[in-house]
């Protein structure tokens, strides 16, 4: 039975880490990966560990689990679990501890579940390994699935992992991790691969474990919003050190470390006034092989002083607050408030410009023929209509599988439309001959999500950028180098990068190269598919600003696909919310974020990180099959027939995209009007 609640005897923390130092053996020699970390996690506490790639946040969690990769080793310090040093334990003891007292949840649940074993069997196995009888294990497995909120647990327990959705799999992983009611649960980016609505649900599970069982949770994340919603305290890591540590409220309202402060400012937020430009942190996180002397942040810090470049600041308590410490020479004397930074209100209302993209009742249906006599039709995009104008950005938001990427492919001519009219700058893809297609390609370009995968690793940056110029003979042989230099300059990269290879660049720089390549043919429209989600948080703002600048300078229009509503709110003039291949709500960003009309939009906004987890959105979990006929959202809708059985109209009639305000439309029989 789940009865044991972890109490804190005499305020002793569950986990106490002191002076933890680890070294990473790289081909270039050993590098300090973690430097003298000190932190505690108490029972019933969620500690958020925030940092960018290479900051050492995952390494810290692996060190606690004693699961460091071969190339890494702890060289000093103590990791005390209930006062016992894990670093002195034998591997055999650790194996026992990992099952019983330590649990871990990773980012990708599918990689950690056995594909050929039923979920219940896997759960029972993890229970019986640690001496439970089979009968006990069976009841406990069911209990656990209920604990993590799997609906119809009795039926689902004998399903295979592939029959579960991503969010449900992550719940199963959490159930396994907490099977023995561990005192410490480590969750390493547990929601990064999930949609926002599911992310919110998983985070709620973690909060429940904390509240009901008193589990200590170490939540590793790059998302400040996640921290805001769930964590009691936060550890900000930078270049293998703790930069700042404080209670969540204190940290978010009055951070002391310039890195924390600048990071908080640079991340777009749903509830702060819109800015013309994001206050981006220059530069990028240091390479673990090559960290600067003194304070590792000094080369990006606006408050840098002489001392910072020479001496490493120790982590010191901020006098007013016993739970707040910071490693900075400057910070302790200068308490800062996160006020809205100067930068001016964002201009609203752009002049009516030329329509460059017109999508009229476009359908893209995938047909798959499993047997010669039966075909299966998947309506990925099912009757979508919208326009994009020059110099404006249209945001496409929605969860994975809603059809937004298919729509992007259709706009780029990579996927033929099944029916409807799709015109780019007045020309249609369908029926175009090769000559016309080549001309169309010049008008619409793409920026990809993963800048590493979208650049040929064998080609230099210069060659990649020159390729479109060569394809359209836009520059003669003698002018090519100059043209490449100009494009690099436009995206803020020095000319000498032309001779480097993608692997020598950081993520943000690679994305700039991808943007330069898209700009080479002077397109009228750029489709950007999650262009900043693979980048480090402190670099995202730079790239978002670059997109903004380029739009102002070149008049290019954007179709911006993103799951990050705060980014969409900052970047986009118009927003389209997609669900199950259809647009469920469209309109000016200001209207949609101020008065979300469709229940699905409202759930998305309520689930966005940083909106708080307290309110239950009422969203029903997705069933395996989507309803056909009528409203596609009705099986999950918090206001539809699932909640109000008398609303039968949702199943009977397909809701049309009707006006609910000026230029604001929603496809819902019970849509809320702007003037409500």
């Amino acid at each position: 039975m789940i009865t044991t609640v972890h109490n804190t005897p005499d305020g002793e923390p569950v986990l106490r880490v002191r002076g933890l130092t680890a070294v990473l053996d790289l081909p270039t020699g050993p590098a300090t990966a973690l430097h003298e970390l000190d932190f505690d996690i108490g029972a019933g506490e969620i500690l958020g560990v925030v940092g960018e790639s290479g900051s050492g946040k995952s390494l810290t969690s692996l060190a606690v689990m004693r699961m460091l990769p071969d190339a890494a080793r702890v060289t000093a310090g103590q990791i005390l679990l209930h006062g016992e040093d894990l670093l002195t334990k034998s591997e055999k003891d650790m194996r026992r501890l990992r099952g019983r007292h330590l649990g871990i949840v990773f980012q990708d649940p599918l990689a950690y579940l056995h594909p050929l074993k039923r979920v219940g069997a896997q759960l029972r196995e993890s229970l019986t390994v640690h001496a439970a009888t089979r009968a006990q294990a069976a009841t406990r497995a069911l209990e656990l699935l209920k604990l993590v909120g799997i609906p119809d647990a009795e039926q689902r327990i004998d399903d295979y992992p592939h029959q579960f959705s991503g969010g449900m799999r992550q719940r199963v992983m959490i159930a396994m991790a907490v099977a023995h009611n561990p005192s410490l649960l480590i969750a390493d980016e547990p929601t990064t691969a999930l949609d926002v609505t599911i992310q919110a649900e998983i985070l709620r599970v973690l909060v429940r474990l904390r509240d009901e069982l008193g589990t200590a949770v170490m939540l590793i994340t790059h998302d400040i919003g996640v921290v805001e919603d769930t964590c009691d305290r936060v550890l900000v890591m930078y270049a293998g050190r703790i930069a700042e540590q404080a209670g969540t409220g204190t940290l978010l309202k009055s951070p002391r470390h310039p890195y924390t402060r600048e990071l908080l400012r640079s991340v777009p937020h749903l509830n702060t006034p819109l800015l013309d430009r994001l206050p981006a942190i220059p530069g990028q996180p240091p390479d673990p092989r090559n960290r600067p002397a003194g304070c590792p942040f000094h080369d990006r810090c606006p408050d840098v002083r002489d001392r910072c470049t020479r001496e490493m600041p120790p982590l010191e308590r901020v006098d007013a607050d016993p739970g707040h410490s910071v490693a900075c020479w400057v910070a302790p004397d200068t308490p800062v408030q996160i006020a809205a930074p100067a930068g001016g209100e964002r201009r609203t209302g752009r002049p009516e410009t030329e329509v460059i993209l017109s999508v009229e009742d476009v359908r893209v249906w995938y047909t798959s023929r499993r047997w010669p006599w039966s075909t299966e039709v998947v309506p990925a995009v099912d009757g979508v209509t919208f326009q994009a104008r020059q110099g404006t950005a249209v945001g496409l938001v929605g969860e994975s599988g809603c059809g937004k990427s298919t729509l992007a492919k259709a706009i780029l001519g990579l996927q033929p439309v099944t029916s409807g009219r799709l015109t780019v700058a007045g020309r249609e893809w369908s029926g175009a001959d090769s000559h016309q297609r080549a001309a169309l390609r010049r008008t619409v370009q793409m920026v990809f999500q993963d800048p590493y995968a979208s650049l040929n690793p064998r080609m230099t940056v210069g060659d990649s950028i020159a390729e479109p110029l060569r394809n359209y003979h836009l520059a003669g042989r003698s002018q090519l180098a100059g043209a490449v230099r100009e494009l690099l300059d436009q995206v803020g990269l020095p000319a000498r990068y032309a001779d480097s290879y993608p692997y020598q660049l950081s993520g943000g720089q690679r994305q700039r190269v991808g943007i330069a390549r898209a700009l080479a043919v002077s397109p009228k429209l750029i489709v950007a598919d999650e262009p900043v989600s693979a980048l480090d948080v402190s670099v995202q703002a730079q790239v978002i600003n670059l997109f903004d600048d380029l739009r102002d300078r070149t008049g290019v229009g954007y179709v911006f696909i993103t799951h990050d509503l705060a980014v969409a709110r900052h970047m986009c003039d118009d927003i389209l919310v997609m669900y199950a291949g259809r647009i469920v709500e469209s309109g000016p960003a200001s209207a949609i974020f101020a008065n979300p009309s469709h229940p699905y939009t409202r759930t998305l906004l309520a689930s966005a990180p940083g909106s708080g987890l307290t309110k239950d959105t009422g969203l029903k979990p997705a069933s395996g099959t989507r309803p056909t006929g009528g409203c596609r959202f009705r099986d999950r809708c918090p206001v539809g027939p699932a909640a109000n059985p008398q609303r039968t109209v949702c199943a009977e009639r397909d809701p049309a995209l009707d006006a609910v305000g000026p230029r604001h439309h929603a496809a819902c029989h019970f849509a809320e009007r702007d003037d409500r």
Binding site: Q284, N290, Q445, S454, D549
Partner: protein, 286 residues
């Protein structure tokens, strides 16, 4: 409007060296390369230093090492050292002729996938059939049809290694075509043939290089296997495999007769394999 912020430029890494050359700097690769080069040097230069030809008979058969014959003589009085050295030559000729043919032909056949899916499927099924036939049976058939000899071995090696090249090329092309940088190339208007030559083929060749080194090792073992059975190189021409066969009856009296060619085969295969491993690691771009 403000100019975009220039990112602070960190010092770039050292200029990238050729990945293959870089792969050869590991201890394993060096050992493999040394073995292969040593065998090549011995096979090419060795015979020049000897006063005996491989088919020259000295009169006394099966003499012990010494007295002008460092490894003794065989059952018809030929110098064993001279035959081993020329045997290495024969093996080098077989590997260096057969493997490139198989590689080019196999890769080409594997690439038909970019022309037509149906054709590719047909070719791949053909490879399945070829792979289903044991090498030895293939060799026996060829020896019966075309007569035993170096030419039959070369054809056997080509037929035996070709499907592997074809399959790997086929799957490499498919995986390349699914890469995002290939989509990116379509979007920036790169013509199809240039996408193939610039983005797909170079990345396909990577895998082929490593596979070629593995196939060299396979070729040596095929030659050995066929010749041991008497279906390979025809006497009096020396080859490592036929020497192992001819020497094995005398394993107790003249152990060096069979064991020296065995050792050479082992070293050659080891060298090629280590080299293939290193190249493979380079290709994976870890």
């Amino acid at each position: 409007m403000t100019a975009p912020a220039t990112t602070t430029a960190p010092p770039l890494d050292r200029p990238p060296r050729n990945r293959y050359l870089q792969a050869l700097t590991t201890a394993k690769a060096r050992f493999g390369l040394t073995l292969v080069l040593l065998m090549v040097a011995i096979g090419v230069l060795g015979p020049l230093l000897l006063s005996y030809g491989p088919e020259q008979q000295s009169g006394s058969a099966l003499t012990a090492p010494g007295g002008g014959h460092p490894l003794g003589t065989d059952e018809v009085g030929r110098d064993i050292l001279a035959r081993v050295l020329h045997g290495i030559r024969t093996d080098l000729v077989i590997t260096l002729v057969a493997v490139p043919i198989a590689a080019v032909l196999g890769t080409a056949l594997g690439l038909v996938g970019v022309l037509s899916r149906l054709l590719a499927a047909a070719v791949q099924r053909l490879f399945d059939v070829l792979l289903g036939v044991p090498v030895i049976i293939l060799g026996v058939g060829l020896a019966l049809a075309a007569g035993a000899g170096v030419r039959a071995i070369i054809v056997a090696v080509v037929l035996a290694t070709l499907p592997t090249f074809g399959r790997q090329a086929h799957s490499a092309v498919n995986s390349q075509l699914g890469r995002e940088y290939v989509t990116a190339a379509v979007v920036i208007g790169t013509p199809r043939r240039k996408i193939l030559s610039r983005h797909v083929l170079p990345n396909v060749v990577d895998g082929m290089v490593a596979l070629a080194a593995v196939s060299m090792a396979t070729a040596v073992t095929i030659e050995g296997g066929l010749s041991v059975m008497g279906l390979g190189v025809v006497p009096p021409q020396p080859s490592l495999g036929s020497m192992i066969r001819d020497g094995s009856p005398y394993l107790f009296d003249q152990p060096q007769y069979a064991l020296v060619p065995v050792t050479v085969v082992v070293l050659l295969v080891l060298g090629y394999t280590l080299l293939a491993d290193a190249l493979n690691a380079a290709v994976l771009r870890k």
